[in-house]
Structures are given as C-alpha cells and as structure tokens.
C-alpha cells in the first residue's frame, strides 16, 4: 500500500476584531476557500478542490486553521488563498485575510511548527508585559510548552495562555 499524499497548510486568519473569530466554524472556512478557488481557477480549480480538500482543524480562539490539499495541486489551490477577503458565517460577513505560516506533509510536522511558532510569539510578548504577575504567567507558559516536555496538555495550555496574554 502506498500512502495518498497530501499537503497541510497551516494558516492564520487575521481579523481586525479578535472576538469575531469565535463566530467562525470549519464549514464556513471551507466554503470561503472553495468560493475563492472557483473564482480564481474556475471549474478546473473547483474540481481539484472537491477531491480531497478539507479543513482539518480550526482554533476559533487563535484563528489557526489546517487546510488539507492534495499534494499534486496544492500550489495552484494555495495561490487562491490571498484572494479571500471575507468569510460568511451564520449570516454575518467577517472580513479577514489568510496568512500562511507553514506547509507540511503531515499534521504532526505542522503541530510541531505551531508549538515552536507560539513559543516564539510568547517570547516576543514577554517584554510587552505591564506588571510582574503577567510576566510570570507568560514565563511559566513558555516553560510548559518547551519542546522537551511536550505533550498534548502543554499544547493546550500554551494556546490558552497565548490568548490570555493578549
């Protein structure tokens, strides 16, 4: 048996108001991506998109999405992502744009990258702390999400704390 290969795009959804992220759901994101692909690449693109495209993971708190594309045509589908300017979810239009952070062959490599990326973000946030307590909290979360003692709980904690830090 040969594995069917895919590419996972780790994207960040940027919105002006972060509370709007909570209104997103994965079907709305998938619909927006499909519509953008259909507009930029026509029937050919939407046919490619209907093959094995899916939204694997959506974190509505941080606005992180994993998109799965077939390996053969991910570049073509990727090129349509910058044309997404809004996502319609539950009757509301959320204006946003996609920022692709990483392209990986497996979900695991994407997750590893995401942990490293979030650690960097926390390091970047550390000097901006207003008081000691906040600083201590962030330092603790950096320690808990370091790659040495990585486990799923740490991953969750770190995502949570990033959100608190903002």
């Amino acid at each position: 048996m040969v594995r069917v290969k895919s590419r996972y795009l780790l994207c960040e959804i940027n919105v002006s108001d972060r509370s709007e992220l909570l209104k997103l759901d994965d079907r709305a994101v998938a619909r927006a991506v499909k519509a953008a692909v259909a507009r930029t690449h026509g029937d050919y693109g939407s046919a490619l998109c209907s093959m094995r495209f899916c939204v694997k993971y959506l974190n509505a708190h941080t606005g992180i999405v994993f998109l799965r594309f077939p390996k053969g045509c991910y570049k073509l589908l990727w090129s349509a992502l910058p044309f997404i300017t809004s996502i319609e979810s539950r009757g509301q239009i959320i204006s946003c744009f996609f920022n692709c952070l990483h392209v990986g062959g497996t979900i695991r490599t994407c997750q590893r990258f995401l942990i490293r990326y979030n650690t960097q973000q926390l390091h970047r946030m550390l000097p901006k702390c207003k008081n000691e307590e906040e600083k201590k909290q962030i330092q603790e979360s950096i320690l808990s999400c370091s790659l040495m003692g990585r486990n799923n709980e740490a991953f969750e904690d770190e995502l949570e704390s990033e959100e608190d830090g903002e």
Partner: protein, 136 residues
Amino acid sequence: MCSQAAENEMESRMKPDGEKTEPPGYQRVVLKNASPHHYLKVRLLLEDESTRVSAVELKRFIISCLRGLHGEVGAALEVDVLKYDEETLSALLRVHSRGLVKLWSSLTLQGSYQNQACAFRVLQRDAAYSRSRSRS
C-alpha cells in the same frame, strides 16, 4: 526551416543514383530554444451555420471559455486573434507557451455559443508563425 532545406538537398543528391526515396511522411523539427509563443489554427463549428460571428465576438467568446474553465487566472491569459476569416469561421490564435494547455483545454470543452451547440476544431498547432502560415 534549415532542416527542411537539408532534407531536400539530400533527396536531390540521392535521386541520381537511381534509388527511389520514399517521400517523408513526417517532418522532424528541432527547436534549439523554445519559442515564447504558440500559434493555434482553429475553426469554430456552429449548429446554425448562417450565424455571423465578428472578430470581436470571437475574442470575447474565447475569453469567456477561458474564464469558465480556468477562472480569472485563465481570463488573464494573453490570447491574440492574429487572423480571422468570417466566411469559414477559422482563426489563427497566438498564445504564450505557458497558457497553451489552458487555452486548448478550454476551447475543447466549450460546447455552446449563444444557446446553440458549437465546437472548436484545432486544425494546427505550431511554435513558429512562419510555418503555421505557410502550411495553410
């Protein structure tokens, strides 16, 4: 063109020996550096043959074909109608080599023009303008 001249020369050299050479059924063309454009000679077949299609309408139709199959990326391809004959509905198109496959596929898959069945027949494809003109 050079290779063709060389072949003709060889044929003329071999004939005096009494050997009857077979006329070559094909011609081998080697391009040293690939040309940036490709030329397509197409003919539009329409269900109702009395329909008149002007050159502008043809160009618009070709762009709408491209937009249907390849979206805005396809519609942005540079396609030029170099020659067009309204009587026979045949046209000579020029396209960038990178867009050849997109143009050809969208022409082939187009099935209707103004609510009537239509088809594009690609008569000839060439990488050099001089050859596609001389063979017509």
